[in-house]
Symmetry: C2
Subunit: 217 residues, 2 copies
DNA sequence: CCTACCGATCGGTAGG
DNA sequence: CCTACCGATCGGTAGG
């Protein structure tokens, strides 16, 4: 009579390492073929396991995509924070460090960056809160500068939104390859990020503030 | 003996209208299910034709996606330009009109907006040149304001990149749903766009320009 | 523009 | 973690 019980002893055990290998594979897919190509089977293929294995680590495809985004936010936050630590206490230097680190990450991991802010992962709560953390960091930065009296008063959330929008927009447009169509220097993204940050810092106006629209003469 | 020649007379003729219906269907897919779901078969299904029909109008899937992006750029340019026409000659009013129209389009067609600036369509030359046209419009706007002496001197391309980055970043972050995590007023995107534009216009600095970083005391 | 067909990929599950 | 299997979808082509 054959044994009726499942031979759990000879069943391969899910190694914690496999999850990391699968995640790295998924990130690689994002970079090479885009979000649309991220799948449990393709990740398994690149990770060198069979296509049933990923389900031991990720509930479904959406969870894998979300994991790619979350991993990206972790790395982004780490890089941004360490850049700020290096920058010290000078306000403009800190803004420059923020902008440069943000752009550098985006250009270094364009596929993953797109996943982080793409529609596929937007619904994931963990991704939303990671996004909120980035915003919170910007708000803190603004509030600190205000306490030192170094930038204008005003709703720190609004000012932080301006700063983030500028950095994020620049990153997205550069990933998109805009630079190839423009006379600006592509080879020095850091320099461009600093220029844009400085312009944002100074504003576009000339002389007195031009907030109120004047009537046509 | 059966006729050997193809009965071209009884073969349905490709109607020019079908292409438009397919394109509209594809745009709808982008809005409801995202870029990844745009396919010739699904478009055919929604358009009410058989799955072989789309090949009469679009060479392949990529061409359909590109068409969605191109159509989006046409509409965006039209809306932005008409908003500027209404705004008249006041510089700040024109900037506000630009920012508001841009954000309004993005929030009104988030799926299509994502296709316009997504990786899938980025390689398409027609999309790249449409993108360049948006940038050119911004450069023109900046250069005109400079000629009137109403904004700071400087490379108009750099200043235009700042303006576009700000508007684009705001649009992307809002599409992403950032607003739900922030205390800012979601219900009035136009107001928010104007605030951000005004802040960009004035800059963040307080008192004298703080371009040069000072050494820590 | 339609019908019919191909090869390939995918998500997911059962069972060991 | 593996093997085997399911149903579904897709891009694309042949032929009328």
């Amino acid at each position: 009579m054959l044994s009726q019980h499942v031979d759990t002893v000879n069943m391969p055990i899910s190694t914690p390492d496999t999850k990391q290998v699968l995640l790295r594979a998924a990130v690689e897919i994002a970079e090479t073929d885009g979000v649309g190509a991220i799948g449990l089977r393709e990740a398994a293929r690149r990770a060198g396991v069979t296509h049933g294995a990923p389900y031991r680590h990720f509930e479904n495809q959406q969870a894998l995509v979300a994991a790619v985004a979350e991993q990206g936010f972790r790395e982004l936050m780490a890089e941004v924070q360490s850049a700020q630590a290096v920058a010290g206490n000078d306000v403009l230097a800190r803004f420059h460090a923020l902008g440069v680190a943000y752009l550098r990450f985006a250009l270094g991991h364009p596929g993953q960056f797109r996943v982080m802010f793409g529609a596929e992962a937007a619904a994931e709560p963990a991704v939303r809160s990671a996004e909120a953390a980035v915003f919170a960091l910007a708000v803190n930065e603004i509030a600190g500068a205000q306490r030192q009296g170094l930038i204008a008063a005003g709703d720190p959330q609004e000012l932080a939104l301006l700063a983030w929008s500028t950095s994020h927009g620049l990153a997205v447009l550069m990933i998109d390859g805009l630079v190839q169509w423009v006379g600006l220097d592509t080879t020095a993204p850091e320099r461009l990020a600093k220029r844009i940050t400085a312009l944002m810092f100074n504003g576009l106006q000339r002389g007195v503030p031009a907030v109120r629209s004047r009537r046509p003469s």
